[in-house]
Amino acid sequence: MKEFNIIVAGVGGQGALTLATIIAEAAMKEGYDVRTTELHGLAQRGGSIPIHIRFGEKMYTPLVLEGEADLIIALEPLEALRTTYFGSKNHKTIFLIDNYKIPPITVSAFGEKYPTNDEIISHIKPFSNKTIIIDASKIVEKETGSILSSNIFILGYALSKGLIPIKEKFILEAIKENVPEKYFELNKKVFDLGKKQS
């Protein structure tokens, strides 16, 4: 495989960075060259956090070229919209979105409108082959009492649907290395739940 491009988008505190690190380290274990880029600092205070992950034979740029994402994982629907231009019909981009809305202050206090799911899907359509919206956070909260590991649920889902070309054993190794030891079993359970989700 020459290259595979993923964008993980979310809001500060949602676990986007952990998810991206797990994917990147698993890709390395699989034997790929890997590059990622993320932003820290000011943007983290309740801001958007897009992380780019690229892996393949030989990588240079850590940033995904516009229109060339293979997979966009959004932990929040608006954040999927914000990264649409990294996808394209050309490239058969798949959007995988957690239906967990975090309205920004521009919506909650200053009168802007949060788009409906139908609007979101129609906005994404010109940039994508397929948009999948799942209730990851809701399911995870119901099962575990907290939304905290919904990023791992999404990972399990994506893997079982063949959306990430990395072997499960490498993903599991990377999860083990990147979540606190006492939470590994919980995360493994959530990962399996994600795998079973249709």
Binding site: H40, G41, Y60, L63, E66, P104, T106, F127
Partner: protein
């Protein structure tokens, strides 16, 4: 345990550029590291703080970058290898000691990491390009383009620094600091942590020696130019075509990918040793072309140098650069593709511009960065606005989390220049206008550079109201301890320096320490003090809410939550509009507080004109 420390020789690990820099220092036998936190360099400090004790080295957060540089200089003058690091603006602060350091020379390797931030991802005040500082300071500069180079260049820098007894600058940009890529590790070397200061006339920096040492400095740079000529940090990758590319830093990656996407393979000279530049290597490279394109982010420094060299060796050469590429903003593959397309006539098969246009039509609501739920700065800003309603007043801004006061609904940062500038500029405005001034600055900023301008307001009989937003930590860059915290970088207990006592010692007569959660007291105090004819200070003291939340979680303490009584609420929206708290939202005309987000600060309950907000009763 941190893989930066545990990784074995030959092992391949995925590292952030900033982590690779620390590994490079560990592989070079570093004994001391110092910094003042600043993104994009912050994770270098976080990594040192995590491993320093175990690695047996000394690390500190100094009060500002100049002090940090001096600390690392002290080590290097005493024969202990040291590293100092900060963001680009930090170099401005450190310069006064950096220039004489070059003259004095060092006895052990010293490396200074400077993290530039094109595009201003973590720094709004300017898109500063620090490369000219290498020229002014007479110091060599290396520029890595990925995490492997971060480690390798740091190692090389120590070797050369010690050989030439000259500190080395390693300049990074955000995309290098915050890029993760695979690094092949070398071996960690245990270096000296204790040395001896041996008196040397060169350290005295006094005329007439300074003229001699200046002369020597230039001789050192001449020799370093020869090293740069042969260095493997500069290399040519072979290709075909009448256009050559010269590239530095992270842009190398964009050039390589853009050529691949355009299906061209032009000769590329990649320069990593960027000062002194390898003139002969460049001349050899450019003599065979009709055109060269110089790709460097920000100012045309290498480009102008190549133009000068072309006059000697290939006067017909067209040197392209700015014009096809901008001096502003960070680069990416899209921008390089566009420039290369224009120059070579090769088209990228996909219409990027039309594609982006489709996106721009969507207009999704923006997600602006925002003060955290329960942030004590929120109530300070609210109180300042409420107390000064209708007044002709200037809100003097400064650098810290409170920079977010720039946005609605607060708009309490009328100017933002540099650390501590709220007071200096605020004083100047007081002297030349009839407007009132409130200066907002944080505790860490006060220790960094807020003290001289405060003394200046007393000395020169000024009267701004200065509000020190004391959240007990350097929050914006990731919660590093400062002199008011009571803990140092190594996690040791230390003296908690009292801002209150300092301010009083400066001769400020009106000093009030207030919990900013007490909204009414804040409002009445601001109203009273803003009218004073002498400078007055409010210390709005309350620990950063993120830290409190973390502590409570660790200790299993529950946070009080608040709710809006729908029967009392008159739906005026004051809570949401005036506070912009992430926990408050409106659902079809009904105002609600999200219990998962509420930090229990009770500020909204005080602000509500109808007393509709109260604590949730324990079940």
């Amino acid at each position: 345990m941190n893989k930066v420390l545990t990784g074995k020789i030959g092992e391949k690990v995925l590292l952030l550029g900033n982590e690779a820099i620390v590994r490079g220092a560990l592989e070079s036998g570093i004994g001391l590291a110092s910094t003042y936190p600043g993104t994009p360099s912050s994770e270098i400090g976080e990594t040192y703080a995590d491993i320093a004790k175990e690695a047996g080295i000394y690390f500190e957060y100094s009060t500002n970058e100049k002090v940090a540089l001096e600390v690392a200089s002290g080590a290097a003058l005493s024969g202990v290898r040291s590293m100092c690091f900060f963001k680009h603006f930090g170099l401005n602060v450190a310069c006064d000691s950096l220039f004489p350091l070059a003259y004095a020379g060092v006895k052990a390797g010293m490396v200074i990491i400077i993290a530039d931030d094109p595009q201003g991802w973590s720094s709004g005040q300017s898109e500063e390009d620090t490369r000219p500082f290498a020229r002014i300071a007479h110091l060599p500069m290396l520029e890595p383009s990925d995490a492997q180079e971060c480690k390798d260049f740091v190692k090389k820098a120590y070797e050369l620094s010690e050989k030439f007894q000259l500190p080395f600058l390693v300049r990074t940009t955000t995309r290098v600091n915050h890029m993760r890529s695979i690094v092949k590790l070398g071996d960690i070397v245990k270096g000296k942590t204790k040395g001896k200061f041996i008196k040397d006339i060169a350290f005295r920096n006094f005329p007439p020696y300074v003229v001699e040492t200046h002369e020597e400095l230039h001789k050192k740079l001449d020799k370093l130019k020869e090293i740069s000529e042969k260095s493997n940090m500069n290399f040519v990758s072979k290709g075909k075509g009448s256009l050559g590319i010269i590239v530095t830093g992270v842009s190398y990656n964009y050039v390589m990918d853009a050529m691949d996407d355009l299906k061209i393979n032009l000769p590329v000279l990649k320069i990593g040793f960027t000062y002194p530049l390898p003139d002969e290597l460049i001349k050899n490279f450019i003599k065979k072309f009709k055109k060269v394109l110089v790709v460097e982010e920000l100012e045309p420094i290498v480009e102008n140098h190549v133009k000068m060299l072309a006059k000697e060796t290939n006067f017909k050469l067209k040197v392209l650069g700015k014009g096809y590429l901008s001096s502003a903003g960070e680069y990416n593959e899209e921008r390089i593709l566009n420039a290369l397309s224009q120059i070579t006539g090769k088209k990228y098969e996909f219409d990027l511009i039309a594609h982006k246009k489709k996106y721009l039509k969507i207009k999704e609501p923006k997600r602006i960065p925002i003060l955290c739920p329960g942030c004590p700065h929120r109530s300070t800003f609210y109180a300042a606005k409420a107390a000064t309603k209708g007044m002709d007043i200037v809100y003097a801004g400064d650098v810290g989390c409170y920079i977010l006061g720039i946005f609605k609904p607060f708009e309490t940062q009328d100017f933002i220049f540099s650390m501590g500038a709220s007071e200096g500029i605020g004083h100047g405005i007081r002297k030349t206008t009839d407007q009132k001034v409130i200066c907002f600055l944080g505790d860490s900023t006060f220790f960094h550079s807020g003290m001289p301008p405060m003394i200046n307001t007393v000395f020169n009989k000024s009267n701004p109201l200065i509000i020190i937003m004391d959240n007990r930590i350097t929050a914006m860059t990731g919660h590093q301890p400062n002199p008011g915290t009571g803990k140092n970088a190594l996690g040791e207990e230390c003296k908690e320096i009292s801002i209150d006592n300092i301010v009083k010692a400066f001769g400020v007569e009106e000093v009030r320490v207030i919990d900013p959660y007490n909204v009414n007291l804040m409002i009445s105090t601001i109203r009273e003090l803003v009218e004073k004819d002498k400078v007055s200070v409010i210390i709005a003291k309350r620990e950063c809410q993120l830290l409190i939340a973390r502590k409570k979680k660790a200790e299993g303490i529950k946070t009080a939550k608040f709710e809006i009584d729908p029967n009392v609420c008159k739906r005026c929206g004051t809570c949401l509009r005036e506070l912009a708290c992430p926990a408050i939202h409106e659902e079809s005309g009904v105002f609600k507080i999200d219990k998962n987000i509420c930090a229990g600060c009770a500020v909204c309950a005080q602000v509500c004109p109808n007393k509709a907000i109260h604590a949730v009763k324990e079940e």
